[in-house]
Symmetry: C2
Subunit: 316 residues, 2 copies
């Protein structure tokens, strides 16, 4: 049995008996001598790579993506018998860490501190004796009320760390209830929650129903001290409404790791919105635990267990 | 019984029976009508305020500072019968939070991201597919080896959060052993630990024996990928050695919330050291839990329990 591995990430696998692994160039077509492959793992593959795999790997049983999103793979026309599995969960820790970095940079006003540093100015406003909760600003996560919209595995990785820092975390999702020990309200009740929210975090995926949902009505309902952080997908956010909210002070700051489009064009007004931090889709990009997922799913192909993260292709 | 409270922080106290509280101006002398006070709480008091208290409050049983450091109070000549207690512990959570903000900003290269943002540049170097551990750089706290030098209550508040983010934390202190579940090596063995250290954090207090201890020998022993964060007291760090280490690439980045002197003069070369974040002593400045400490120590004056955070004045 032959597994093709991407050259875009270094993996040290303990393959099940009977399996061999070959690293192939993720940017190029699959070389003819590997058209007999039984499984293909992908990480940042080119369209040409995927097209070649869909067309030529006639024995292919599994495409194991290391990305959370597999839209590009589903479009390629892999045979129905080929199982497609995504990399959900592999990015929880890195994305949670980046989200925390962005949020703390806003809370601790690091962009403003860097501006003062450039001017060689020891700011009396940022340092020294401060109010814990000045009212017009969120200056600590202690006692902060945080809503995380999209309460999947990334949010559930982040939430306990926010709690450890003294925040109260509530999830927002399609279905209310309790998940991983956190209360979750349904998205339809979001407007009721926003006025008492210090921080709104979006980890929403890009779907038809999430496009532009973080818009003017959301920013208007938040208190002016509120902060917004977006690390899910860019098109969830109405960027014009965000620019307006930052310019008018409807909210006091925001950080985006994802935008529409990506890369963000040089001329986009988002770059110059006040009190905004933009990082270039840098939160994840580094699958963690890919080896265990691949090993598990190869064993599942051999009848030992079930495929994890299997995509329901009947739905697409 | 009369308690004088500072006007520099808002406190809602539940005073023990028999106590009344009066708020006085922390910048000014104690008004004559309050010279009968039994206890004085201070937060950012002027020298004049403390001098007036030491001279005129003849019935004073307790000076309760909300700061960790009480050097200024000890110098004032309060009568030996007056108990002096500090605010150790009130700043653990805010200082730990700021330390984490600085460290994550370095790890996630937020200053560089902000530079790209100013140029309207979507950096391919910062975003997209990345190595988890590129070797020449610390890009995540996952698997990071962190040394915290000065392993008191602030470090013990920070360490579990770093652990939750995937780091391995070791303390450095005068006495080795285990504290709060973390291994602590003695300061004399620091040099052995540094070569395998990704992040060094100083939470050292200012004492005769800590002056300048973070110097060239420390920076030289760290790997070039290492990051350094200082939130204790400024004079622990040999700033010339730090500037040199950053310029030569002996370490890859640093963040200081404390400097020597403070405020840092406009002409100081530290401002322009590469890969350095400076915040103006902004980590703490907001006592958390001051009410409980004051209430407890007033009860202790009445014979109920012992004074918490009492300073041993025989040692000074």
């Amino acid at each position: 049995m032959k597994l093709l591995l991407p050259d875009t990430v270094s993996l040290s696998l303990q393959l099940p008996a009977g399996w061999d692994a070959v690293v192939v160039d993720s940017a190029e077509e699959i070389p003819r001598q590997h058209w007999d492959a039984d499984a293909l793992a992908t990480w940042g593959p080119s369209a040409r790579h995927l097209d070649s795999a869909a067309e030529n790997l006639r024995a292919l049983q599994l495409v194991q993506s290391l990305s959370s999103g597999v839209e590009a793979i589903l479009r390629r026309g892999f045979r129905p018998e080929t199982v497609i599995a995504n990399g959900a969960g592999l990015h929880n820790r890195t994305v949670a860490e980046h989200t925390l970095a962005l949020l703390l940079a806003l809370v601790r006003r690091l962009p403003t501190a860097l501006e003062h540093q450039q001017r060689h100015d020891w700011s009396r406003e940022l340092g020294g004796i401060q109010k814990l909760h000045p009212g017009d600003r969120v200056t600590t996560l202690l006692d902060a009320r945080i809503l995380i919209w999209g309460f999947g595995s990334i949010a559930q990785t982040l939430a306990p760390i926010l709690t450890a820092l003294g925040a109260t975390v509530t999830g927002v999702a399609r279905h209310p209830g309790e998940r991983a020990g956190f209360g979750v309200v349904e998205a339809g009740r979001l407007q009721d929650e926003l006025p008492a929210t210090d921080v709104l975090i979006s980890v929403l995926p890009a779907t038809e129903s999430t496009r532009g949902v973080v818009g003017a009505d959301v920013f208007d309902a938040l208190p002016t001290r509120a902060l917004f952080v977006s690390v899910g997908r860019g098109d969830v956010v109405d960027q014009s409404a965000l620019i307006s909210a930052l310019r008018t002070g409807a909210i006091s700051g925001a950080a985006l790791d994802v935008t529409t489009p990506e890369p963000l064009p040089t001329t986009d007004p988002l770059w110059d919105a006040p009190n905004l931090i933009i990082t270039p889709h840098a939160a994840g990009g580094r699958p963690v635990g890919a080896e265990r997922l691949i090993e598990r799913n190869l064993r599942a192909l051999g009848g030992d267990g079930t495929i994890q993260n299997r995509i329901d292709r009947s739905a697409s």
